[in-house]
Amino acid sequence: MHEIFLDELKKLNTQFMEMGVFVNDQIDQATRAFVDHDKKTAQSMVDNEEKIPTESIDIQKKALKLMALQQPVATDFRVVISILKATTDLERIGENAMSIALETIRVKGNPRIPEVEEIISNMTHNVRHMLIQILTAYVQDDEKMAREVASRDGVIDHDYVRARKLIVDGIEDDPSRAVASSSYFVVTRLLERIGDHIVNLASWVVYKTTGELEELTNPSETKTI
C-alpha cells in the first residue's frame, strides 16, 4: 500500500515541477512581450490561459485523493499538504504572468522609460532565478536554501520601490508619459507579487521539512499600496 503512496507522490512531485518550470517560462515570455510590445506573443499566452489553472486543479485533485484514500500522517501528511498549498502559490504566480500578458495587449505605443524597463528585466531575471531555486529546494527538502531564497525577496521589493520612484519622476518630467507609466506600475507590482508568492513557496518548503508554519517575511519588506 505504501508503495502506491510513494509512487503517486513521485508522480505528483514531477507534475508539480513541470508546472513550476512552465510557470517560470510564462514569466519570461510575458515580461519579454511587454518590453518588446509583442502583442502576438501576449495574445497566444492569453489564448492558453486555462493551462495553468487546469494543471493546478489536476494536482490538487490527486493530492486530495491521496489524503482521503491513503490517510498520510506525519512526514507524508506534510508532503501532501505542502504540495496542495504550494500548487496554489504557483497558480497565483501563473496568474500574475498572465496579467502581465494582458497588460501588454492593453498598452498602446507610448513613450517609454528605458530605466524602468531595465528594472523590469532585472526583476524578471531575479524572480525567475528564485523560482527555479525554490523548486529545487522543494524537491530536495532543502530548508536552508528555501530560507535563503525567501531572504532575497528584499531585492525584488527594493527594485519595485526604485521603479515606482523612477516612474513618478518620469511623469513629473513629462506628463504625456502618464498613460504608459500606468502599465509600468502594473507590471512592476505584479513582479513584486510574484516575489511574495515565492516567499510563500519557501515557507511550504520549511513546513514540509520541519513541520513549522512560519511566515518568512524579509525584514526590509516594504508595505505597498
Binding site: M1, H2, F5, Q70, Q71, P72, V73, A74, T75, D76, F77, R78, T210, G211, E212
Partner: protein, 251 residues
C-alpha cells in the same frame, strides 16, 4: 498537568527473553495516552506492568521503577488490592462474567467489601450511564451480560471497570474485536470520560490514536522510540521511523 504514573527504565524479561529494554514514560492525569507499535513490540507487556497484572507469570523479571501517585508500585508495601482498584483494566475481548449485567458491574464493589445496597445500586446506574450503556440495560439489569452484542458487552466491561471509581483505566485494544460503529461509540465514550479518568490504551488502530489520544507513545522491539503530544507525533514526529510506522510502511 500532574503526572499520575511514571515509568523509569523499566526492563522486563520472560525467562531469558527481554521484552522491554528500559522504558521511560510518564502519564498525565486525565489524559488519554495511546500506546502504539508493531505486534509483539511489548505494548501489552508494558501496559500490564502498570497495575502489576504480570506478577503471576512464571519466570518473569521486572526491574526499574513504576510510580503511581508517587508511590513505587513494586515496593513490598504496596497494597495490591488497592492498586488494582485505582488502576483498573479493560481487555480486548469483551469479558463479561456469565452473570447478570447488575452483578457484573457490582462485582468489583462486592470484592471491595461494599455492602450498602443503595450505594451499589447507585454506582451500577452511574457506571452504566458513564459507559453509555444505561439506555440498553436499565430494563434488563437481570439479563445475562453475555447475551448482549459485542459492543454492548465491551461497554458493560467499561462500566464494571468504572464502578470502583478507579483513577486510571488501562485498555488493551478495547475496540479491536468490535465493528466500526461500536468502536466509534466506545471512542466517543472515552472522549467524554477522559475529563474524569486517566486512560492508557493500547491500540493498533492508528487513526483511533490520532482521533482520541492526547499523548502517543510509539514502541518497537521493546524500546520506546518516541512519545509526545499526539498532534506532534502525527504531524511532525522527531524520528523518521515514527513517520514510517504511522504511514504503514511496516508493522
Amino acid at each position: 498537568m500532574t503526572t499520575i504514573i511514571s515509568a523509569k527504565d523499566v526492563h522486563l524479561s520472560y525467562g531469558n527473553y527481554e521484552a522491554l529494554h528500559g522504558v521511560n514514560l510518564n502519564f498525565q492525569e486525565k489524559e488519554l495516552t495511546a500506546l502504539i507499535g508493531p505486534s509483539g513490540c511489548g505494548k501489552s507487556t508494558f501496559l500490564r506492568c502498570l497495575n502489576r497484572m504480570n506478577d503471576d507469570i512464571e519466570n518473569i523479571k521486572i526491574t526499574g521503577e513504576i510510580k503511581f501517585e508517587g508511590q513505587n508500585i513494586y515496593s513490598s508495601k504496596m497494597d495490591l488490592v488497592k492498586l488494582r482498584k485505582e488502576v483498573g483494566m479493560v481487555f480486548q475481548q469483551p469479558t463479561p462474567f456469565p452473570f447478570s449485567v447488575y452483578d457484573n458491574v457490582a462485582y468489583g464493589l462486592k470484592i471491595a467489601g461494599v455492602k450498602d445496597k443503595d450505594l451499589i445500586d447507585q454506582r451500577v446506574e452511574e457506571s452504566l450511564k458513564q459507559a453509555a450503556i444505561w439506555k440498553e440495560t436499565k430494563d434488563n439489569l437481570k439479563r445475562n451480560a453475555q447475551a448482549f452484542s459485542g459492543g454492548q458487552q465491551q461497554r458493560i466491561c467499561i462500566a464494571r471497570a468504572l464502578a470502583v471509581r478507579p483513577k486510571v483505566v488501562l485498555l488493551d485494544e478495547p475496540t479491536s474485536a468490535l465493528d466500526p460503529i461500536s468502536s466509534s461509540e466506545i471512542e466517543e465514550t472515552l472522549m467524554e470520560l477522559k475529563h474524569q479518568y486517566t486512560f492508557i490504551m493500547v491500540t493498533h488502530n492508528l487513526q483511533q490514536a490520532g482521533r482520541i489520544s492526547d499523548q502517543t507513545a510509539f514502541l518497537m522491539n521493546g524500546d520506546l522510540i518516541e512519545a509526545g503530544p499526539t498532534e506532534e507525533m502525527f504531524i511532525a514526529p522527531e524520528k523518521q521511523i515514527t513517520s514510517d510506522y504511522l504511514n504503514g510502511r511496516f508493522g
